[in-house]
Symmetry: C2
Subunit: 301 residues, 2 copies
């Protein structure tokens, strides 16, 4: 995502610093030395790419609560590993059959389908491994809460379930409720979990947690609507992936359902709700969380 | 596996009762009502099939230690879900391309490749979810220990890594050390983890745990050697899967490396070590653990 006119210098600095810290942590935790080149495939899928939006949501939320930075970084990397594995599997020929991701050949193009399948599987296991260290760096009750949030958001009633609905929706017309329900699972669940995992790392009170859940859900919806808009208007250079695929494959999108202008207004309303929810958290410094919502909503337009 | 002449009536009764209990628990935990038929694909991959060897290892180990039955059943089902997901992915066209499993069409044949991929992914997430209940039925420290064992045995340095080595070994000659290392990851890690997770559920002492680790590793090795032997000698009716595939696809096996007779002696020695390790556990009643080793080692011959 490119920067927008509304971004503060402090947010851009914070984001850049945290993106580097996440990259370093991921590089530390995704091992190179696994058998038969599996580590290389995993690292290819994870490192040197992406905006790290999910980790940034974890870290910003935890920081707003003065949470434990070690716990927050583990949680941040675990959601990114889930995201990365889902992209590897999603790009495979039996799914979206994408050959380009972030301007590079997709993992199965580079390493073969079987190795890509295994790399995705191993990345999911590693995501959970990060949350259960054996060095007492995470309190067991916090580990359990984080694992549970990750499992629920990634699983059959979360991301994987949303992808299944997505598959089944090709060539069908979904109404707004169905489309939202699909995206709430497919991308919304893990984005919301990122915020809530940050809240758990920061030991948020029940009331703060509820407000942050609303923030995460609204941001997740805005993310998807903007994604559909970008799919239509962006060019290959800006996105680094094959563009217009959803329309080409006859998948229902917010733009196909309500038109471009209406979709943009819809995204803006979701963003407004995200900002409003932050006001209900009772937290003193939500600057980076506000800025992340704007970053999601105003990228490349 | 069919019964052998050495089995006690009490073991057969115990095994049957536990297989039914595992089936019931899996049916309870793998939800039918997921979006777009994903639940049906997951249940198809998990229910009504298999010997449930891994769950039986968890349960027998925990019982020998008078462990908590609720924790043990969660652990038992979690290892079976990992096993089931690995079979779904392993059967896919980009991996082994198997169309038959336990006498039924494989999951991708029945539900399509994309849905099978997602069902496997969701089963892995569900395996971890089972270990982190939100109802205080598992002590957090035990949850964490179980999650860690599961993640390590399933991941890049465990099962997924072993499968990657397996892929890379086609058409190559492995020596005995390499072949053992591959299988220690590919099948041994999860079998051993089943035993160790049972030990954790049963709060085993460090010395007992070490002996049980040796039992699990030896049983895991025996399992794989016998598998290679059966691949050569069994017929379709007994195994319910395509036979002779490993030899046909030029994968190195214990039989191809050392011949049938020598491989059988090798399996027997591994079994002997498993039995000996049980004598070192200091546990009063290891009858079912001994019987499980024999069941693994003497199936169908």
């Amino acid at each position: 995502m490119t920067s927008t006119t509304h971004e503060s210098a402090s947010f851009v600095q914070w984001r850049t610093r945290q993106q580097e810290a996440v990259e370093q942590a991921l590089s530390h935790w995704v091992p190179e030395s696994l058998p038969a080149g599996l580590g290389q495939a995993m690292r290819y899928a994870v490192l040197d790419g992406g905006k790290r939006l999910r980790p940034l949501l974890v870290l910003a939320t935890s920081e707003a609560l003065q949470g434990d930075t070690g716990a927050a970084m583990r949680a941040a990397c675990s959601v990114e590993l889930i995201h990365a594995y889902s992209l590897v599997h999603d790009d495979m020929p039996c799914m979206d059959n994408d050959v380009l991701r972030r301007g590079k050949p997709t993992t199965h193009v580079k390493f073969g389908e079987a190795q890509a399948l295994l790399a995705g599987d191993a990345l999911q296991a590693l995501a959970f491994e990060l949350l259960v260290p054996d060095d007492a760096s995470l309190e067991p009750a916090m580990s359990v809460a984080l694992c549970r949030l990750l499992a629920l958001s990634a699983g059959g009633d979360g991301m994987a379930g949303g992808q299944s609905v997505d598959l089944a929706s090709v060539g069908r017309t979904l109404d707004l409720t169905e489309l939202e329900a699909m995206h709430r699972r497919k991308t919304g669940a893990l984005l919301q979990a990122s915020v809530v995992m940050g809240a758990v790392a920061g030991r948020a009170s029940a009331a703060t947690l509820r407000a942050l859940e609303t923030y995460g859900a609204s941001l997740g919806l805005a993310f998807q609507v903007v994604d559909d808009i970008l799919d239509v208007v962006a060019d290959v250079a800006a996105l680094g992936k094959t563009v217009g695929k959803d329309a080409a494959s006859d998948k229902p999108t917010f733009v196909s359902l309500m038109g471009l202008e209406q979709a943009q207004r819809y995204a803006d309303r979701a963003l407004d709700r995200a900002h409003e929810a932050l006001e209900q958290t009772g937290l003193a410094d939500t600057h980076n969380l506000h800025a992340l919502a704007d970053w999601v909503g105003r990228r490349d337009r």
